[in-house]
């Protein structure tokens, strides 16, 4: 047996640096989630208590299992120091196990390593993937707005927006108010990345650290709103992207579009008065249009909400409802919307997401494309002459 140092000499490890398997490590982290359970021993049917959850020190988040824990409750947010914990590998990721040999005790916030990001690797927006954490980013804030949400019983405000660097843009959700202002350059550490329906999101909470930095070398966020449209094939290949601009012809409208009814609770579309989740509800009328924008290299579905639909159609929700009363067949309304939209050349900016059905864009703006016919003709004539 190899001689091992006594526990008090074990060096403190960052969670990101955990070895895959080790009989004894010394770690420090904040409890992100925790649950008390019992397992039944197969030998005698006796019950053995355990705590399991997630521990994070800002560099990584790791699952832990604590056998025979103390009787008193351990709250979420508690900082624990564990000396002599075991590391096991589960599905390619390290997990911590606190056994009778592990000394677990509370620690103060000051003992956690500072998350100024200096110790964390610098990443670019393009390199962020679902599940990533323990990195720092240097970005500019493109947009940010507060959004009240209810988490269980609790009402909280999440600050949502987009940050960008030279390689791309990513949406973020901050559960803590860092006073972010559009246009400013920041270094962000202590966040993590999750993906929802193929859309990456940077999540920040009270453990995140935001430092204002010099914007030199980072793109002006105002540029994001003026960037020229990209070929749809390129956006498809990237798997989508935030603040993406595409231009093309509307070649079709996807049903159901036009006047739709939504569940008053969850805003899902309802059919025959039934919501998928809430059953029979009395629907709330809304306007929307999903149209296919095609630029010859690829096609994207644009899901436009009420305001954009009203502008494209030239018809308000009230107009549409009034028209419905005079129409013998409600589906005619969708035909009329299709006639107003198909064949139009539009520039659409917004968040693009790719899934099995192709590219879908949630538009932030929809504008008619402007074509300078004279310049186009000159350009094409020059190309034809150049070929001679």
């Amino acid at each position: 047996m190899v001689a091992t140092p006594p526990d008090e000499e074990l060096p403190e490890l960052r969670l990101r640096e955990l070895p895959a398997i080790s009989p004894r490590v010394h770690v420090l982290g904040r409890v992100v989630s925790i649950r008390r359970r019992e397992v039944i021993r197969r030998a005698d049917g006796g019950r053995r208590p355990l705590l399991s959850g997630l521990l994070s020190d800002g560099s990584a988040t790791v699952r832990f299992t604590w056998w025979d824990p103390p009787k008193e409750e351990i709250d979420r947010g508690t900082i624990l120091r564990a000396v002599g914990a075991e590391v096991r590998e589960f599905r390619g990721r390290p997990e911590l196990v606190f056994t009778w040999r592990t000394k677990v005790g509370p620690a103060g916030p000051a003992e956690l390593p500072p998350l100024d990001g200096d110790g964390l690797p610098l990443r670019t927006v393009r390199d962020l993937h679902d599940g990533d954490e323990g990195f720092r980013l240097e970005v500019r804030v493109v947009s940010v707005r507060p959004k009240p949400v209810s988490v269980g019983e609790e009402r909280r405000v999440v600050h949502e927006g987009i940050v960008a660097d030279g390689t791309g843009a990513v949406s973020f959700a901050s559960w803590s108010d860092f006073g972010l202002v559009p246009g400013e350059a920041v270094r962000i550490a202590g966040g993590y990345v999750r993906a929802f329906r193929g859309r990456r999101q940077l999540v920040l909470d009270e453990r995140g650290v935001v430092v204002r930095i010099d914007p030199t070398g980072l793109p002006d966020p105002a540029e994001w709103g003026r960037r020229p449209p990209r070929p749809i094939a390129d956006v498809e290949e990237d798997g989508g992207g935030e603040a993406t601009a595409i231009e093309g012809l509307v070649v079709g409208v996807v049903s159901p579009s036009g006047l739709v009814y939504r569940c008053p609770t969850c805003r899902r579309l309802i059919s025959s008065g039934l919501c998928r989740v809430h059953g029979q509800v009395s629907g709330v009328a809304d306007l929307r249009v999903r149209f296919v924008l095609d630029d010859g290299t690829g096609a994207a579905t644009v899901a436009a909400g009420r305001e954009a639909t009203e502008r494209l159609w030239g018809l308000t929700l009230a107009d549409a409802r009034a028209r419905l009363r005079e129409l013998p067949d409600p589906s005619v309304l969708e035909e009329q919307l299709a006639e107003a939209v198909v064949g139009r050349r539009l520039v659409v900016r917004g968040a693009a997401v790719r899934d099995d059905f192709g590219l879908t864009v949630t538009p932030e703006s929809i504008e008619p494309a402007e074509v300078d016919l004279e310049a186009a003709a000159d350009d094409l004539a020059a190309r034809l002459d150049g070929a001679r």
């Binding site: 079709g252 095609d294 010859g296 059905f357 074509v371 003709a377």
Partner: protein, 304 residues
Amino acid sequence: MSLREPAWRVTTRELESSFEEERGAGERAASYVLSPFGARMNRVVLAGTLSAAEPIGRDEPSTFWRARLTDPLGTVGVTAGAFQPRAMVQLRTAPAGRPALVVGKVHLYRGRAETPTISVRAEAVRPVAEADERATLAEVVRQTLDRLDLLDRLAHEPGVTDDALRASGAPPGWIRAARETLRRYPDVDRAGFRDALRAAVRRVAGTGLAPPTPSATGSVTVTVDRPAPPRPSPTAEDRAEEATFLDLVDEAAGVSADGYADVRELLRRLADRGVRADRAEAVLGRLEEGGVLEEPIVGKLRRA
């Protein structure tokens, strides 16, 4: 993964020059028509002027309508049937002689004479302002030139990788189409086609005349654009040959178990009489086309 097929921007001339197909395998697989100019088309967008739509077929009420779309380079048929009710109504009500955009699926029909006929089955027909028609025509010409440039580069640098082409901005679908085009149409006059695009550029600039309104009448007769040349009437020698041939078919059929004349058996008997195989094939072809003989099973003949 079944992504929506992009709508290729093409001129009527490019459509009319296309006769190669790629049939998808498997369930609900898309089929494509390959053009000589680098388009692998399932869906297309066309900009031009529509003729009045006419019903096809004798059934009343007719469920199939056809119009013709003319752009500065030519004309192509646009159809819509009962399976495209929205497009059918749009095709019937689109004002004749006015600029329009057509989105639809390319359909290649081979008649009995193997003459390919291209038409577009409309998904959407939209009358548009002249400026919109010209803007889309500009896009058609630009993307056509992009595809021609891609083909030229591939032809001159056969070893160039997809990554290198991708880096120069060519969409993946175009690279695939260009490689397939060079395989299927090794000798095509791309320079001549490039020159023909000038007419479209004049239209974009507004200096070219708007394409003439295609006449409504007569469009029904234009079903085969390259009719086979009329055959010379058979000589007495031909007739004698055919008679011998038919006698031998009857003989061969008489000795076979299934009542059909086996083609190999027939050719052997003809060879015994000094008729060469190529000559025999020619007579066989003539009799089949003339409706005298038929081949219901490959290699088996009978009198029609």
